[in-house]
Subunit: 400 residues, 2 copies
């Protein structure tokens, strides 16, 4: 971190060109003449700026970014052609002026709300509208060296924060107190402040400090651990529960650096864990070791999940794996990047092969009702030769 404002690395121009080319290739495969990108994260990915506007990507020509706010900032940050625009009503004449034509337009229909869609549809009267969400997710799932560098820096911040937990964790403090301290440490080390998650009604906290039975609450989110939160209005995250001796304290901290997310979990204990919890932690380690020794580019993501389930079944822990009862989820990992719920999903039925450059969080966890949760979450980069870990691998529960 430096003292100056905005010194984080901008996306290199050649990187933007490569991303646009990948999208154009997908457009060609699907028969799309023109893509209109509006969602802020997709915009950031394709333009290099999070400023507000409408990005048009024609099949063959250069993209044009019509910027609503703030033009100067967008034009400084993005290597693409930026054109100042007022509001959405100006678009038809701009399309005409810049010769953006065709018969089939691609939109991010997984995220664009209906009211906005109605306005856009009016601009494209006579066009066929296609959904290009899956194509964008697929492109974004394979990371460049530049992106992997940002992920690694995000991982370093979280690794440093975890190394400081034992200086602050004390019996009798509340989960929320520890939560606040760790957030402030992360922020001082350059954490970007919040994490992005794609989709309607998706919400998350940066950090979950869950002690003992707090980790067993089930909530709306599709996650193995969510916590009760401080209020049922949020219904996830750390609570006012005080941390006790001999219970598992599981901390899930999402890093964020220059837009890129990591997701890591560690277990701490003041005193000593009961044997069956310590044993489950070892099984989580075995699952991690299996991933590191056997997973390969080309393997179907769902196969890794199935192998994890086989290990768990052999140990007789199936009913506690990735949640308990109705809280159980059907995955053990998820892609990370600019958002925390990217592809690949290392879960049931996700039948796409791992590709070099994919980055995912891998989180074998066990929830024991009334007692708490144990597990590990680490981030991995898929390489030709195997899995590269982003941070170090904590072999043991960290006991104080």
């Amino acid at each position: 971190m430096t003292e100056e404002i905005g010194t984080f690395e901008l996306t290199p121009p050649e990187e933007i060109t490569a991303r646009v080319n990948k999208l154009q290739k997908k457009m060609d495969d699907k028969g799309v003449d023109l893509a209109l990108i509006i969602q802020n994260v997709d915009l950031f990915y394709l333009t290099g700026t999070i400023q507000k506007g409408y990005l048009f990507v024609p099949l063959k020509e250069e993209p044009i970014f019509f910027v609503q706010r703030h033009y100067e900032r967008a034009a400084t940050e993005s290597p693409l052609r930026c054109i100042r625009m007022k509001g959405i009503k100006a678009l038809p004449s701009l399309l005409h002026e810049y010769g953006l034509g065709g018969k089939r337009v691609g939109l991010e229909l997984d995220v664009i709300p209906v009211s906005l869609f109605y306005k856009i549809r009016d601009l494209f009267r006579g066009w066929e509208i296609l959904n290009i969400s899956e194509e964008i997710k697929e492109i974004r799932s394979v990371k460049s060296d530049f992106e992997i560098q940002q992920v690694k820096r995000s991982g370093e911040i979280i690794d440093q924060v975890f190394s400081e937990v034992s200086n602050h964790l004390r019996e009798g403090m509340s989960e929320m107190e520890l939560d606040g301290v760790l957030i402030s440490i992360g922020r001082a080390k350059g954490h970007q402040g919040f994490l992005r998650m794609r989709g309607f009604n998706q919400e998350m906290m940066n950090i979950y400090v869950l002690s003992g039975e707090s980790a067993c609450t089930i909530s709306f989110g599709d996650t193995p651990l969510c916590g009760s939160g401080v209020t049922h209005a949020i219904a996830q995250g750390s609570s006012t529960k005080r941390i006790k001796r001999n219970e598992p304290i599981i901390i899930d901290y999402g890093g964020g650096y220059n837009g890129y997310v990591t997701d890591e979990t560690r277990v701490f204990v003041i005193g000593r864990l009961k044997d069956h919890l310590a044993r489950a932690y070892q099984v989580a380690q075995t699952i991690i070791e299996d991933l590191e020794s056997s997973a390969r580019a080309g393997e179907l993501a769902t196969r890794i999940y199935e192998r994890a389930k086989e290990i768990v079944a052999k140990e007789g822990l199936s009913q506690y794996f990735m949640g308990h009862g109705e809280g159980q989820v059907a995955f053990v990992g998820h892609g990370i990047g600019l958002e925390i719920n990217e592809w690949p999903i290392i879960g049931r039925g996700f039948r796409k092969p791992l590709q070099p450059g994919m980055v995912f969080a891998f989180e074998p966890k066990f929830v024991f009702p009334g007692e708490g949760a144990v597990g590990i979450e680490l981030d991995y980069i898929v390489r030709e030769e195997g899995m590269e870990r982003v941070t170090h691998f904590p072999k043991d529960i960290i006991s104080l």
Copy 2:
């Protein structure tokens, strides 16, 4: 705050009944037979739980909440009839089974994404689909006593945090360091962890610590101050800039308690501000005093904005008011509640009258390019007899 988990007050059943009745009245006015509510905050408002599901509100009969996840939690928190359901595909048979019929269905089209809408549309073949977003916003804009109580508690937390700023603010510390410390204090006092904002691509931080020229950056958001943020990928919030003597340090902190948001801003200085900045702060105070002495229930929200602009014009400060240059925004206040961008908007063209029970943040601010920003933000409850302030009114810039 107590030690127990989940001890925040649940929404009282009679409160839920009153809210549902208000919606049914609006449905009747619009000719809607059945409303389907999906957005999480609208769900929380109408059911009392943030758990995931589909709420059906018929015009005359009792609502039914079909819960996807987590049923037990929803059934505990909501006084409404809760029915367990698997996925969206189960809805047609459930609608049939529970006799939910009609010809015109109301949906939250401002937030429902197109892909999800297509699935819902298939369920309502032969029905007319109407947008009930505005009706919901209108109902939610008038708060009950219970809601106002939550807002006040949110305000208390932030007030306490502001009273501790001078214990932590030091020359040479970075904005982000102070940001982190204040977040951790808020969290320890019961801050819910994040704030909700309605709409596509809407993002915000809980806190903005902006010193000197940091407050002058323009970004994508429709706010007078956004900051540069630690990275252009976020493009708002506190940065790594170090805090200097004699520059305005403006801190905007969004409170969150039991779902309810407040939004408050204070100015600090280490040393002394230049006269023209101190003068602008006094003008912000004058605008606040005008609101407190003259605003009334029944007055059009836009009139308050116009009066503020008149005061500013008389002082010759129009070019700095609510941003500078392209960063200028056309409002001076915004409704708050479960989300931070509710109605009323105290801004240009918002021609709805203030009603008793409305709650809004009021934020006269001035941005001086290259120098920084000064201003105040306070929250108000509209009463029959005038405006009730949520927290105390800081008459002076707080100098260290």
